[in-house]
Amino acid sequence: MAEYLIKNGYVYDPILGINGDKHDVAIKDGKMVDASAVKNAKVIDANGMTVMAGGVDIHAHIAGPKLNIGRNFRPEDKLFNAKPGQGIKHMVAGHSVPTTFKFGYIYANMGYGFAMEAAMPPLYARHTHEEIRDTPIIDEAALPVFGNNWFVLEYLKNHEIENTAAYIAWILRATKGFGIKNVNPGGTEAWAWGMNCSSIHDNVPYFDITPAEIVTGLIEANEYLGLPHSMHVHGNQLGEPGNYKTTLETLALAKGYKPNSKFGRDQVLHQTHLQFHSYGGDSYSSKSFESKSKEVADYINKQDNITFDLGVVTLDDTTTMTADGPFEQHLSHMNHLKWANTDVELETAAGVVPFQYRKNTFIAVAQWAVGLELALYAKDPMKCFLTTDAPNAGPLWRYPRVIKWLMSEQARNEVLDDAKYGEKVRDRCYIGELDREISLYELAAMTRAGTAKALGLGNMFGSLRPGMEGDVVVYPYSPESENPEDIEYAFGNAKYFIKGGEMIINDGEIVSNGNKRTFWVDCKVNENAQVQHDIEEKFKRYYTVGLNNYDVNEKTFLPNPHRIEVDATQ
Amino acid sequence: MESGKEKPAYTEACGIIELDPEDIKKLGVWRNTNVRVTSEFGSVIVKAIEATQGPHPGLGWIPMGPWANQIICPKTYSTGMPTFKGTPVTVEVANDEQVLGSIELVTLACRSE
């Protein structure tokens, strides 16, 4: 493998504590090494540019059945953005739901080396893996969903943590999954009857368990297993005015739990797309709606076992897709756009609805404000991560624009000044009072160092420390730049990107499809006859796929697997 | 269909038109006689049998396959889908004509251009 030496760039690495110094960065045999260790390196001159470890995305919808519903039911999403193949690149298309090839190229251009598919329905795992396999360059993993799973609901009703954990370990192996995703706990099972849970204390129909019990149960199961990542939750009442109360109640459930993980994370609960969950008021009207980002951020700032990602609204035409089935039906009633839904036996559901966040409406800009405020209030950027819940709050390739808004008060004011109801938004939200500008050092925490740590991958990604994976990006951005537009350009157009020691982007051009890996967690647990029996029973009686056909065959679907082994037999 | 479309069983199964007993009476023919089915788009010889899933007076039913496709409406009306169902046809007795096997039927039609 080639050796690389990146010189003269401004380096930002919160793990090594490098804050903009000019520091030599070297890669050899696919790993980061000390600069003195390379003898025959190709030298990259990063003069005037920003150097960071490859990005790590903790939550995006990039592979799986609801992506494809989005693609296949929105031919209009491909209008005017199709590009023919070029060199080693496939043809690409898709504005809010790109094709798999395009996802790989988007991430590479943004300098990201790892991405987590946010929600994988276990019965459809093969589909998720097929799409992951067809996404070039980036390493990926997927989180199977558990918050509405019949096994989980039944075990947790009786607080059977060991059984829950055994089942989860079984699912991780069967689906080649990475961790525990929990979407609209209990509410999506209620949705299978057309209902929902409107508070964490509601009873799930028939199963007679509350969302609160599901959340705490899954936290306990996660820590029992000692998984690399924590329970990852999309709480109840997403998008509802006034939902910040439910959010605070959900976050409070993490109190008292300590992480049990050899993988370095500090959190027991990761709250995703917090923006959608930080609303006050009781309608979307500017007379009522208000941002509660400060209240929520204040709470999180006082905890040491919670992380979150933002889910920033980007004011684009986009497509919403989530396992929060009832929410999607509700959304399509509001905007009268086409609605697709799939309930998945014994497991979960998904809904897909196009959505337009119009800058000349009050509510879209208010939502935009809430997402940014959460970041501007966050005390520790190692716990606050940049996402757009792609594509729900905005398309994936808008990350650079979000970075611009976080780093430049001027850029934020431009949005508010340009918006028809900008003044109302300043009035009902906190954005007008916030002049903080995220620094590049903090940005590195929010987009790589912090996310890698929260995922339990801090020994592989998120830093340039020798021994880490050779994922390095050079952004054509000078810290001395005065123009916020430079930020948006640079973070979407990496000048150089090296992934696993292989040159992917050379002088702005994608030159390789790389060698992507699919990560999954192989968790060993004690034999559990009860769970084994329950699995056999439910497959025989209630599933429509045989137990022996459920497992994702690693050889077929994961051509380049990376297994993370966990031993939970103690 | 799965045991071979070149075999007689396929012709037996799909080279037919199921007609309501009322329509067979009107035609003045015994069941299981060959008939000529003609539409605006073409013509084909199939065996007339009594409806197995009737009654459905006025409706003739030919299973999907090359016999049906000789006479159905190929227009898609810009949807991509030919109009396979609902083509008006005339049925007349054709006692002395043969029902062709699928391969013969299709190759002959293609050669006659």
Binding site: D134, G194, A340, T556 | E2, P66, I103
Partner: protein, 437 residues
Amino acid sequence: MGKIVTDVVCPFCGTLCDDLEVKLSDDGKEILEVYNACAIGATKFLHSQASDRLLRPRMQQDDGTWKEVSYDEAVEYTARILADAKKPLMYGWSSTSCEAQEVGAGIGEMVGAVMDNTATVCHGPSLIALQDVGMPSCTLGEIKNRADRVLFWGCNPVHAHPRHMSRYSIFPRGFFTGKGSKSRKVIVVDPRCTDSSKMADVHLQIQQGHDYELLDALRVAFKGKELPDVVAGIPKEKIYEAAETLKSGRFSVIFFGMGVTHSLGKNHNIDEAIAVTRDLNDYTKAAIMPMRGHYNVTGSGQVWGWQFGFPFCLDLSRGFARYNPGETSSNDLLRRDEVDAVFVLGSDPGAHFPISSVKKIAKLPSVCIDPHITPTSAVCKLHVPVAFVGIEVGGCAYRMDNVPIETRKVIDPPEGVLTDEEFLSRVSDRVKELKGV
């Protein structure tokens, strides 16, 4: 005493049963019996060993006779006609694995083909309707466990998806449907008194071609508004009754098929059926599902969806993906003489396209990849037999509810017979050479 292979996935229809058991001879070279399959599935397995099975490619001569050629010659001919064509049509892709579909997509991208699958004569209108209005749906297990109102519209599962009713839609005793068929009320809408309608509680013998009106009438009936005395041949009392039955259930599902996609209205019929389902969700829980035909037409739509963005009628001829059924659909392209070569794999347009389209195929440079002799192979210049997916080679397939299941290999293909994937890979390599990629 013979080996039994269990959990075998049947490669026939969109029901994609995965509980078949196949009994092999002691040496594992012969299929002796198939258990649990319907008659059609069993035939597929057993007939794969017919003694008159074609084992090598063959080219049609000018005088209509066939001459055996090698796989190498077949690869060469196929690669050439695809590489030389300005706008080749690569059609079918429905009776094969996702792995093969993916290699095929790569070839299509290289040669600028129009890729189309059997949805174009089957559930294409449903795909178009999904694009117009969306689709509230679910997996088949939700039907098994929850559905207490089942409506079959324009489909005849007893004949076309024989085990559907017993595995999923009428008979199973699921978690919330412990009384099996007694837990359910079944309605069939069909212009004929089909064998499926005989299993139903209610048969609405609709006037053929008037589905749109009856679907619309149901939506009126849901709202309790006035209807004309008769709609589509059905008296209004029966329409109100059906509406009430659907609304009063805990979980209503509509399964639909060619009766509505093939009849005039086509995609608009499906728009309306989906709107019925969407409206029902205001009163109770409801879902709708197309009865997909081939066992992996759904997979073809999925693979093209994630690679290109469209599920069928996929035109790659300009170097980027375009989609416009009516313009980029197989039958329209053939009718207007807009393709100059035809490649067919995993389907039989010779039997299932209007004869006017088949005549066009017969005139063009053409290849048919199919283990069987079919009307398609009969009019193509080259016929290449391959192994049966799901019997002689495994591979992923997608069920009618989009659930992916990996089919198994049960026995070896006959000596020297290639799989789809192998043949396509060789064609792909040769096309790369010809195109200088």
